[in-house]
């Protein structure tokens, strides 16, 4: 039976109350509210007026752009008035993101990635200053914005706004649409910081009636060039591994649709497309469609006509003019600039790509891999979305079908049904810096789970999703392994001189090699002595600028000429 006096629009009423409080508070300041625009000096006043204790707040912390001004303002609230906020945000990048908890303003956190703040986060968790709900993948967190983690207040970041509150996010749209949509349509309040107020926006990325307040920030928002890899730092070993990837995987499976990780290993692959891959006659046969940020390292391949389309999670500083001038390849607005969208690109990477290839810090004997290390709670961002077989996928492609066939070959029962599989490749040197082995008996993730009292160890890519492990010693094709023992020896067989690698069963490894489960450079017909940096289509940042015809404008920290 329905209670007769139940009120069904409490959220809308709450929003109305909060907006009324804001109007009153800002009215008293003498500057007031001009349309939706709030003076920067009144930000703390505005936040105090609209927030209530225990609110779920989404503070736009992206992989790249940061609502840094709003983050700072939030830390200035009086914890006696506003406390126990529940923060939901994809990335904890700024010190302010944690100051909130230290200051007693927030107490609970749901997030995806905390790269630069991971050590401090771990300390604060063990000191009981932060209660973590869960660590998500990006797509998973966005999904929960629409289920049970819907923000009451969202603090977002855009390039420009007009008087109506329409937002122009510029090339770095990133998370903004997902956040605003979840908030605006569920009784929430959206506050945006912008770098400029314009009469006419170049384009509208977020409609004004989804936005409640706009603040012109005193300084442009913080944004990091996270995907720029200086080719000067690519080693000969990485060139060798890139050659093996191209010949042993890309060509082998005919991979046309893919996502790359952000390390130097994959940058090396990008830079070998117009040289080594071209020499193998692979142009047009691989690497035409990408879910990828505008990686500067891909410029030579794009210029050489390798790439048909790239959809991006976010942009990359310095790539603005280049992207605009290559609108056949990138997704751009009528204004010419990139339209990125992290949620859409994560979905694209998960469902529409045949391969993910990226690096990791540790791989165990089951092929589970993780970047988690003791003393740091970092999360994985989007890698698990890319690096997981899309179980819901139903369309076929040659690469997907071939991987699926290898996994199912000779198996009956439930595995007899024809089905494809995503290629999920971990590319690692057997030793990282300071001779840290990439192959381990036990992932540090277990220790971290114990330290931080997590319910499950933080695994980036589960072993049963990993199809290949590529090291300088060779490629292990886990699709072809039929027993746990084979799988273990296949992994040991490419683990080089790490303790895991040295403990291999040599006879069994040779047997796996005979069966093509392990393939060495020489098995692929690759002469290691050819693996020199001269194969790279660009050997430094300046070469990338040259390749772009001067359109790429790298940030000054990369301009060593």
């Amino acid at each position: 039976m329905m209670a007769p006096d139940r009120i069904w629009n409490t959220q809308a009423q709450s929003r109305a109350r909060r907006l009324a409080r804001a109007a009153e508070a800002l009215g008293k300041s003498g500057i007031g509210l001009r349309g939706k625009q709030v003076a920067a000096d009144d930000t703390v006043k505005l936040l105090t007026a609209v927030l209530e204790c225990g609110d779920r707040v989404c503070l736009e912390g992206n992989n790249q752009k940061q609502a840094d001004f709003l983050a700072r303002a939030l830390t200035q609230l009086d914890p006696a008035q506003v406390h126990d906020l529940h923060m939901v945000q994809s990335v904890l990048a700024l010190p302010e993101h944690l100051d909130l908890f230290e200051n007693g303003i927030a107490s609970k956190l749901d997030f995806s990635f905390s790269g630069p703040q991971s050590a401090r986060l771990a300390k604060m968790v063990s000191a009981g200053r932060i209660q973590i709900g869960a660590i998500h993948t990006y797509l998973e967190l966005f999904a929960r914005y629409f289920v049970d983690l819907t923000p009451r207040i969202s603090l977002v970041c855009a390039q420009a706004a007009d008087a109506q509150g329409n937002l122009f996010t510029g090339p770095n749209t990133e998370d903004t649409p997902a956040i605003v949509e979840a908030t605006a349509f569920k009784g929430g309040i959206v506050i945006a910081q912008v770098n400029e107020m314009l009469d006419h926006l170049p384009r509208v990325d977020i409609p004004g009636d989804w936005v409640n307040f706009v603040i012109l920030a005193p300084k442009p928002n913080v944004i990091e060039p996270l995907f720029t890899r200086d080719p000067a730092q690519i080693s000969e070993i990485q060139v060798l591994m890139a050659m093996m990837a191209i010949k042993g995987l890309y060509a082998e499976y005919g991979v046309q649709r893919l996502n790359h990780g952000i390390g130097f290993d994959t940058a090396a692959i990008e830079l070998l497309l117009p040289t080594y891959a071209e020499s193998l006659g692979l142009k047009g046969k691989i690497c035409q469609h990408w879910a990828l940020n505008p990686h500067p390292a891909l410029i030579p391949a794009i210029e050489a006509g390798w790439v048909q389309s790239i959809h991006s999670f976010g942009s990359e500083l310095g790539m603005e003019n280049y992207v605009s001038a290559r609108s056949d390849v990138f997704f751009t607005g009528a204004d010419g600039s990139l339209r990125s969208n992290r949620a859409m690109s994560q979905a694209a990477g998960h469902y529409a790509c045949d391969m993910f290839i990226g690096s990791t810090l540790q791989i165990d004997l089951n092929g589970h891999s993780s970047t988690a290390t003791a003393g740091r709670i970092a999360g994985f961002g989007g890698a698990p979305n890319m690096g997981a077989d899309a179980r819901g996928r139903r369309h076929a492609s040659p690469a997907w079908l071939k991987a699926g066939a290898q996994a199912r070959q000779g198996r009956g029962g439930v595995h007899a049904m024809p089905r494809g599989q995503k290629l999920v490749v971990q590319i690692v040197e057997t030793f990282r810096e300071h001779m840290q082995p990439a192959f381990v008996e036990t992932l540090d993730a277990w220790k971290l789970a114990e330290q931080a009292k997590m319910e499950i160890p933080p695994v980036m890519i589960y072993g049963d999703d990993v199809t290949h492990i590529l090291t300088e010693e060779g490629i292990a094709n886990l699709l072809l392994c039929r027993t746990d023992e084979e799988r273990e020896q296949a992994i040991r067989g490419v683990a080089g001189y790490t303790p895991v690698g040295l403990a291999r069963d040599k006879r069994m490894v040779e047997n796996l090699r005979d069966r093509g489960i392990i393939r060495r450079a020489e098995d692929l017909g690759i002469d290691k002595r050819q693996a020199t940096r001269s194969l790279l289509a660009a050997r430094n940042m300046r070469d990338l600028v040259r390749a772009s015809g001067g359109l790429y404008n790298p940030p000054k920290r990369f301009r060593n000429w």
Binding site: S235, E236, I237, L240, E429, T430, F431, E433, H434, M435, E472, E473, G496, Y497, L502, K528, R529, A531
Partner: protein
């Protein structure tokens, strides 16, 4: 810093060669000096490395190199600044590749 020395009995003696140097003693890199050795039937590998405690790995790398090339009458000296085994193997192979044999394995 650590000094290591390995000695293997080998089969293939390169013909009258002069000292060969490959690589550079830089961070994560090493230099490999290959010279005619005193013992015509052996290959020695002497290593000075900045990193301590990796003896077993060096031994495995050296052994692997030797089992592939079976050099004799060769003295190899290495100065290492924290190179990974992959880089060490690469430099050893590069040095061996510049040897010539009148009879012996095709490298």
């Amino acid at each position: 810093m650590e000094h290591l020395k390995f000695d293997f009995a080998g089969e293939h003696a390169p013909q009258n060669f002069k000292a060969i140097l490959v690589g550079v003693v830089g961070s994560g890199n090493l230099e490999v000096l290959m010279e005619p050795g005193a013992d015509p039937a052996h290959c020695t590998i002497s290593i000075t490395t900045s990193a301590r405690g990796f003896g077993p790995i060096w031994e495995a790398v050296a052994q692997n190199f030797h089992s592939q090339h079976q050099l004799a009458g060769v003295a190899i000296s290495i100065n290492d600044m924290g190179a990974t085994p992959a880089v060490v193997s690469l430099r050893l192979d590069q040095a061996a590749a510049s040897l010539s044999f009148t009879a012996g394995p095709a490298l």
